[in-house]
Each structure stands twice: as C-alpha cells, then as structure tokens.
Symmetry: C2
Subunit: 430 residues, 2 copies
C-alpha cells in the first residue's frame, strides 16, 4: 500500500477500505507514516468525511493498538459516562460515586484539557498527591474494590488515539464527527464496559455548535458502538454557558465536592441525575428514567456518594481536607471580584471566552508540554436570565498575579452582557 494513494483517494472523497485504514493506523503508530502525511490525511477526512464502515474500521484499529480491559466477570453492570467536552464540565467527578452507589461498576478513563475546554484528569490532579496514572492491574483492583476509579489514558491503552489526538489538536482537525466517534469509542470500548452514556455537548462552548451536527454525532456513536456490542445511549445537552459556576481545575473540584454535599448548582445536579438515570437504565438496574433519577437522588442526598468519592480519592493517594476552606485544594494568591455597574439581568458571556481566559490564566495548555496552574480560574455567580443588582458581584477571577487578574477581568468585561429587560434562561437539555 501507498500512503500517497490513500491520501489522494480521501482527498477525492472516496471510501477507504478496511485494509487501508488498518495499514494507516498501524503505520502511524509504528512510525512508518510521518506526522505530516497523517495530518494531510486527517484534514482530508475532516473535509470529505468517512462513512459508517470506515469509522468502524478506524475505531477497531485504534482499539487494537493497545490493551483492553475485561470486566465481563463482573456481577454488577459495567457502565461508563463520557462527555464530548465543554466549559466547567465537572459532572464525571460527581456522577462516578453516585452511579457506583446505585449498583454500577464505572471503570472511568478520562482525558486532559483540550483547547478551551477543561479535562477531568487535570481537574483531579489539582487534588494534592492524587495519582491517575494507574497501572492496568491497579485500575482493575480499584474497580473491584470500590466499584470504579478515575484513571488516565496510559501508554498501554489505545496508543493510536493518543498519537492521533495530539496531531488533531495541532492541525485544526478536532471538529470532525468520524474522528470524534473513533476517538471516544475506541477508549470506551477498551475499558471493557457493557454500555456508555455519552453527553453530547452542543453550542457555543462545545466542539459541536449546531444541533444537527450533534444529532449526527449521537447517531454515529450509537451505530458504531453497536458494531462492537457496546450499548451507547446519548443525551444532547446545551453548552451555551459554563456548567455550574466554577471554571478552573481546583475551583471545579471544590464545586463538585459541594455538589456531593448536596448544595451544588442546579444545572450540575440536574445533569448528573439525568446521566446517572440513563446509566442505570442501560445497566438494567431500573426500568424507567424516573426510577433511575430517584435512586440517583437518594445516593446523593444520603451522603453515601460523597463518602465513596472521598474513599476513592484517598485510595488514589489524594488528600482532601473537608474542614479546610476549599477542602485544602490549591488556592490562587489573587482573587478579584467584578461588581456590576448597573442593575439588570445577566445575559451573556461566551463560554469559549470563559474557557480561554482560564487557559490564559494558566489553567489550561497552549502547548502539550505546558504545566497547569491548578489554582486559577473563574467563578461566575450568575446564570443566564438571573437578576443582577448594581454593586453585586457577577464574577471573580482567581489568578497567580495582580496583572494576570486585571487582564482577565478586562477580557471578560468586554464580552459580558447585562441587559436591562428580562432575559430568557438557557435550556439545559436539547
């Protein structure tokens, strides 16, 4: 086979057959196909697309590039959750212990911050001493002992995805449905799960902005998952404003813990219960969504989910002190509050702006090798449609220095809208 002919074929909009896809993925992982040829092919795929057979072949090859877990011996249903990524999305942290308390096993492997969106792994690593680089053996032990854990994609797990993802991130080929499908599903199938609920985020603060694209992605995920015997259930949710109030690693972990204490933001709670109920339905633990939601609420309000969360974190080496402010998580030296100069209704702050400001504060990466400052971020006190009083704090910036804080405040001020008249709130579910 010849890589140039394969690139030409896709450039012309033709189908690649299974053998060609296999050869490309192997060649790239083994280093025979250099980055520059792979990125040309990824761009051609991004523009010309891939059909369902091609996507299945790509998913299979990526999956087979690494090791695969096997939880088929588990008495409990093994179900995971995945989000396609948004701003302020800390749901995995809240949901994992709840879902386990409701009777599932959740071998969750999460990713890092990408572009303007955060990553569950980076959030978790703001917890002092926490380890996410579990060996496959330790990962399986954790799932056996606690019903689940927070793992990282290691060298063993879907190395093809890791390598392809890094290249996509650097070449504007992230937003491509078949590539998204193969990337998500290869990792989830490798977890050895029976099913997965996927939160397909759609809107200004997501990689997918249009509802029809989100629907296409959801259908492709369900269809391709089915080919591998993994039940995929999708939930389309709006990403027009950050989820919850906090954006930034430690701030989001603190918000997740507050939510597990049962006083979190409404949108985080609603979304968590919705996703858990889908997981329970998929695992056959409940027969209806309402019943699933009831169980999820019980697990949360009883405090059992919080207890389990703290146990899992402790088992992964993390130190959380429930008596300390911010639970002992790293705190930024500078906190700058912004007070509203007028009364009105909170209307708009572009979620991408929020994500990018946090990235610039040091809470995300501009290059793969960048270190993250876990303490920085934003707290946005208001949700779209809520009333704002003159002099009331609307948001606060947590920064490493006065200058950085000042610059962040200026950037947000420019993109912030407080309207005089009433403002319609955002719907969370599409």
């Amino acid at each position: 086979m010849n890589i140039i002919e394969i690139i030409s074929k896709k450039r012309a909009g033709l189908r690649l057959d299974g053998e060609e896809v296999k050869w490309v993925v192997r060649g790239f992982v083994q280093g025979y196909i250099p980055d520059y040829q792979m990125s040309a092919l990824l761009m051609a795929i991004s523009i010309k697309g891939m059909d369902s057979d091609e996507t299945v072949a790509l998913t299979r090859e990526m999956l087979e590039s690494g090791c695969v877990f096997d939880f088929s011996g588990s008495r409990e249903p093994v179900i995971d959750k995945h989000s396609t990524g948004g701003v302020g999305d800390k749901i995995s942290l809240i949901l994992l212990p709840i879902a386990i308390e409701c009777g599932l096993r959740v071998p969750m492997i999460s990713g890092r911050a990408l572009g303007f969106t955060g990553g569950t792994l980076d959030k978790l690593e703001s917890i002092p001493c926490l380890r996410t680089d579990l060996s496959p053996q330790r990962f399986e032990e954790m799932v056996g002992e606690f019903g689940g854990c927070f793992g990282a994609q290691t060298e063993e797990l879907v190395p093809a995805d890791k390598k392809i993802y890094a290249l996509r991130d650097a070449t504007a080929t992230v937003e491509c449905i078949p590539l998204i499908v193969a990337s998500i599903l290869s990792k989830k199938i490798a977890e050895g799960i029976g099913g997965v609920v996927i939160d397909v985020k759609c809107g200004a603060g997501a990689f997918i902005r249009r509802t029809d694209d989100a629907l296409r992605l959801a259908r492709a995920l369900e269809e391709v998952g089915g080919e591998f015997g993994v039940r995929v259930s999708t939930v389309l949710t709006s990403m027009e404003q950050p989820l919850g109030h906090a954006v930034g690693n430690a701030l989001e972990v603190a918000e997740a813990i507050s939510t597990l204490q049962d006083h979190g933001p409404t949108d985080c709670i609603r979304l968590t219960h919705r996703l858990v109920s889908e997981m329970l339905l998929l695992g056959g633990i409940v027969g209806t969504r309402i019943e699933g939601k009831k169980r999820s609420i019980e697990a949360l309000s009883s405090g059992r989910a919080l207890d389990l969360f703290l146990k899992i974190i402790e088992a992964q080496g993390g130190v959380i002190d429930m008596k300390e402010p911010y639970f002992g998580l790293p705190k930024a030296p500078v906190v700058k509050k912004w007070l509203s100069p007028k009364s009105g209704h909170y209307d708009f702050m572009h979620p991408r702006l929020a994500g990018e400001v946090v990235r610039e504060l040091g809470g995300g990466r501009l290059a793969v090798s960048d270190e993250i400052d876990p303490s920085v971020g934003l707290v946005i006190h208001k949700k779209k449609g809520e009333p704002v009083e003159r002099g009331e704090p609307v948001f606060e910036v947590h920064a490493g220095s006065d200058i950085a804080a000042q610059r962040a405040v200026h950037r947000i001020e420019e993109g912030l809208v407080i309207s005089d008249g009433p403002v319609w709130p955002h719907y969370l579910f599409l």
Copy 2:
C-alpha cells in the same frame, strides 16, 4: 497570529488575507511552523481552493523567500518556457538552443522528476560530468555568454517553493491549481524574465486530467503572472501518450539530440516549433506565429541549434560524444524487445503506466533520497493509430537486470492495447 486559526479558516473555506499568507510562508521557511501543520493547511487549500488575491500573495511570499535574477539590462528579450509535466517530455532540451538561436535569452531553471513524470534536471544529469548546480554568478555568466543554460533550483532561489514542494509531493497535494500557479510563477519570476510560455499538459499522463481544469490553470497563470509584470502565454497540449518514443533519462537525452539533428519524432518537433514561436511572439521578435515557426525550423534544420546545445553542455562540464552509439550516454546492460503477437493498430498504453514502470526500473524516485539510474527506460516505437505488423517490435525495455526487464515487460503487456480495427490518432494541441 495563530496557525491553528489559519488552518481552521481555510478548512471552513474562508479567504486568508495577505498578512496571514505571509506569516505562514515565513513561519514555515524559518521552521516555526512544523511540517504537520503546513501539510494540514496545504490539504485544506487543495480541497477548498484559493482565490486570485490569495494566490498572488502566496506567489509573492514564495518569490521573496530567496534571491531574484535581474536580466533587465539584456538587449535581447528574456523569455523562458515551462511545462507542467508529463511523460517523455524532453522538449526543454530541444527548445532552449533553438530559442536562443532565434534571438532570445533563456535563463532556464528546471526541476527534478516528480511522481510518475520525469524532470529535465534528472535527464540532463545522465550526461556524464554535467553540472546543473550553478552558482547565481555562474548562471548569469552562462546566460551572458551563450544566451542561456540549464540551471537547477539552488538553496538561494525560492527556498519556500523547494520546501513546500517536497511536502506537497509527500502528501497528495500536488494537484492543486493555486499551489501549482504559485510554485511555477515564483520560480519563473525569480529568473528575472520578461515573459514565459507555459505548456499546460492535460490528460491521463499529466497532473491535470480534465480540459476545464487545464483552462482554469492557464487563466490563473496568465492572471497572476500579469500582477508581477511578467507576460505569461499558455499552450494547452494533450498528454494521453508519452511525448516522442523514449521515456527514461539517458534515452530521452539521446532522443533530444536526435531531434536537434533534425530526425526526431514528429510530436516533439511540432511541439518545439509551436512553443518557440510563442516565445518569439512574446519577446516581440516576430509578429506572427507562422513567422516564428519559420525561424524555429531554420534554427533547427541549419544545425545551429545542435551546435549551441553541445557548446552549452560542454560549458556546464558535460561530455557528449556524437560519434558513439547513444552519444556516449550511459547504456542499460539489458535491452528487451517486445514483439507484437498479432497485426493491428497500436491503440493504448496508459502514460502513467509508462512513467511508473520507468520509475520502478530505477529511472525515478520513490523517496526524495533515492538515486536515479540514468540508463534505464522504455522506447515505445509506435504512436496511437499507427499500424503494427505481427512480429514487429512495439516497445523495448532498458533495464539493469533480466528480472527487472521481465517484470517491466509484464506490467506493460497488461496495459497495452493493439486493436484490430483502425484507431484514431491523438491530437497534440487542445
């Protein structure tokens, strides 16, 4: 500026402004923009296109990446010829001395073999001891002394094109009109010429296969050339069968010398006279094509062009012995003739097949670092439509070994068509 935003913009089919094009070309030449990002951008350009302003900006930046010759002091008009590339195209070798004998200066800088097509430089270098890597000073001296010479693209001349071209060749982004235009014109404008005649090859054995694409390319070349004050005249010619009979480096040089001795193949002679007459018209030396053709024929049949060719080759260090068979050029150890098993009319051999067989014999490159065997190649005795007698030789393979010859014969046999009924010949000019 941000390379990922620029790639995204082009991926979405939007225009890049002059500053963005400049920043990308400089960043790539200086190494700030890595290959894998440039190849993603080149693929997006190949699929989404570039408008005339973008193409002018790209041409200008590529031109300005290196040194530029200045022949504005020349008494004679300075006009070059370029071909977009085909199989068996040795016209530059024949045309250059004729055009100079007719009163032009021709500072010709040629390229190497690309894909299945040959390159004038590789052909020339089959002449023992010939040097094409002339310094800018030596190049100017040669043009002053002989009226022209055969130069190679050095590090000084349009380095951006050299770097971009290598990447395009490896990423299936060669066939893209704005990139072709910028590549051709940046090099030709850098020669310091007043005008250039471009032979736009179209058909199965060219990079442009459809006539409407060839017309679009021709128009774009004329339009963009005009922006730089260089007159561009285009001739559309068919590339449905190799030009002449010989394909392969030394074999083509030998055929070019035979043509300069005035017993060459009809298509090579016709095309040469046509292109020279366009050059003379562009240089203002003649007022009509007929007059141009007359002068071209005189320069050839008088033997003056051959004398000049031999002088230029000698001045560049090359050794040609007119008394030796094949003029002392390298000869392959194995020559295998293929005899027709039946009578009929020579119908079809895909020109790409001919080019690829020669490449496999060692006459072209599969990787940039490959060495070329100048002696190997094909001689196809017949042109489409010519009668073939049973037992008559139709083609011969010149190879380095019996096995290689046998394999080449088999590949060609499979793609060769000799028809029973009459066969319509190919038109050379479109």
